[in-house]
Amino acid sequence: MMEETAKSRFSVPRIPIVGGVLSIIPGLGQVYGGFIMRGVLLFLFIASLYALSLWRMDNAGIDISTYPSYNADDLNKKQEQAFIFATLAILLTTVGYVWNIYDGYVSAGGKPSPALVPGLFITIATLIIGAHITEIDIAKAVNEIGDVSPRLKQILWPWNPDDSAFTREVETFDGVAMWETPCDDTPVKQPTHTEGESYIEIDSVCGSISGLRKPDGSRDEGTTINIKGYDFRPGEEAELVLKPGSVPEFRVVVEGERVRVIPDENGEFELSFVMPNFTIPATATTSTPVEITVRQKQEVGSLKLSEDFWLSFEGIIETLFLALMATIAGLVLAVPVSFLAARNLMSTSRITIAAYYIIRVILNVVRSIEPIVWALIAIIWVGAGPFAGVLALTIHTIASLAKLYSEAIESIDPGPIEAIQATGADRLQTIMYAVVPQVIPPFVSFTIYRWDINVRMSTIIGAVGGGGIGLVLIQWIRLAKYDSVGIAVWMIAIVVTILDYASARIREQYV
């Protein structure tokens, strides 16, 4: 253990009691005793744990100047929780603090005490504060697991016949009658119907729509129309649809419910409704005909893949190519950069060493910025869409591949380089004959690995507007269409798995 091998910076022990007193400020006694790192760490841990505990209570709205005397009734639930967590942390830290004073005393004497037990107290205090900050609530996670299971089921298995992955073609059975408003001298012509097909009869052929102001100032209640239907499919729901003049057809809704009827075993029904209000085109000079339809729908034919499925499919193809383009663009640009970022090739003169350091710094900065941030920048740059995604991934790929490549170059066997140089080869020939053959296997391996990463990253980038499957995925998540989410998740999982396997195989062959 560190404590046993720890050596003071001073060969002569200090005065223990001074160390103990100094450790009233945590760690100071240890510093005095010559254990500087130990002192600094103790100070940081103890001071920050006290500060964090107070901050959590302050954050919850507790007046910390009167801590710890509170009336339990004055605290709300959140404050109560903060109080309990913080007090626990403070108590544990105080154990550490007391030990720190003792340790300051013995450290000054040249023999610091083992830190295992107090270290454990401080660690637990840190975890308690951490649990409070991150709002860890295991009880909640367990109790509410029921809420997630139906959705999880949809996501995990979106392939049931009535899920959004599939559709069927729909056949309609319409009974149609004509009506007009207002009444005029020529009654509207009724459609003929073929024998054996469903049809309807109405008890009036003209009338008024509801809601219009009558000359006496009252509102027209609208004509009540009674419909009789024949030869419909028994027991299957039919709905009422109106199509007045050139206005698009609409379903009739009364008190928030669609008007529906279920035909009896003979396929007959009776239905009455009040002609609702609709906008009569201002150009209408004569009466407006209204097509009254009672419609039954039936799903026919075999299951077909739905539009959502094909959207996912297009999305994953876009994602694959997005990742491929970014990887290839990154590869092409990273190769030259990597040679400039390889220490063993760049240590020939001061200028090249300076270039090496500058390039290394730039690569590190670019790499440390997440692709999602680059995506936001790229969207401002070229607008949302897959191209923005390609740009974002390319930038990040250049930086990370250049670093991996340059490390591969740095780890090559210098022997062949020496041998090729000795033949009188120039720099370019040396690189082509001695460096390139050695770095091709790791380059291939890293590149495929990177494509793998890019496919996974592009799903995230799509969510912020970078195109690909992420775009549809995030829309479905927002619309709570969990079965469609499931389709996208499946596509991603399948593609990533295949790619994973393929890249492993290809890398095996090259290394």
Partner: protein
């Protein structure tokens, strides 16, 4: 005289004095063997001659020119006349044997060709002939790392042959091989030396090999020349002379082998 080393000194950046004021001449057609302990400066000396290492001071007269400070084209043209064979063979392991041999001709080729991987037919034929000379034409299309150590070193010699060298520098060419292979490899060098008049400068560890192949011997110790002798005098080398080169701990092995200092 093909090579004339004058007051050659090499001090590394770390402060290590690898060579101190080394001077000697090499006559065309010699088989010069350099002996000395590991770290005595043998490798540094050989690498200074073809300038893989830049000497700190001194002169290296090759072919009537001082190449100690040569740069660019002059350095290339010098290097391509000096072949080099290495202890660890230094082949490009993943490249084919033929490609490794062809790389010996790079000093004569247009550097731009290297970008296209293009090699003129005549150079490929020369490479095959070089492989025939070292007895492994059938391995031309194998990957270099599929070959045994002895075969790899023969590829190394074939690569040096492609340079049409006037000198071959061999840095412990047989230290990684067993004694039978060692004789075979040194046999190829001797053949080149005798039949084509190629000057050989070779560092060796084993005294019996030195006695068998050298026409002249230079002993290095701590970067200084402590022994010079011809073929006959090395056979009569006394234990005292031996210890001067190899240090007090050195012992003569029964078979005439000399181990690394214990």
């Amino acid at each position: 005289m093909i090579l004339n080393i004058k007051n050659l000194t090499k001090i590394y950046d770390t402060g290590t004095k690898a060579l101190t004021d080394v001077s000697f001449d090499v006559t065309e057609g010699e088989f010069l063997v350099i002996i000395g302990l590991s770290g005595s400066g043998k490798s540094t000396l050989l690498r200074c001659i073809n300038r893989l290492i830049d000497p700190t001071s001194g002169e290296i007269w090759f072919n009537g020119k001082d190449i100690a400070k040569a740069k660019g084209r002059q350095l290339r043209e010098t290097r391509r006349q000096i072949g080099m064979v290495f202890q660890q063979f230094n082949l490009v392991k993943r490249s084919s044997v033929l490609t490794n041999v062809i790389s010996g001709r790079l000093g004569y080729m247009n550097p731009m060709w290297s970008l296209t991987n293009y090699t003129p037919r005549s150079i490929r034929q020369d490479a095959m002939r070089a492989l025939e000379k070292v007895g492994i034409p059938d391995k031309a299309y194998n990957r270099a790392d599929e070959l045994s150590g002895g075969q790899q070193q023969r590829v190394g010699i074939a690569r040096a042959l492609m340079q049409n060298p006037r000198i071959i520098l061999a840095d412990e060419p047989v230290a990684s091989l067993d004694p039978v292979l060692a004789h075979s490899i040194l046999g190829y060098l001797e053949k080149l030396n005798k039949e084509q008049g190629v000057t050989i400068i070779c560092s060796l560890h084993y005294l019996d090999l030195v006695q068998r192949y050298a026409t002249r011997v230079i002993g290095l110790r701590d970067g200084k020349i402590v022994y010079e002798g011809d073929n006959t005098s090395i056979r009569k080398m006394t234990d005292t002379q031996f210890k001067e080169v190899y240090g007090e701990e050195a012992q003569r092995m029964g078979s005439g082998l000399l181990g690394e200092s214990a």
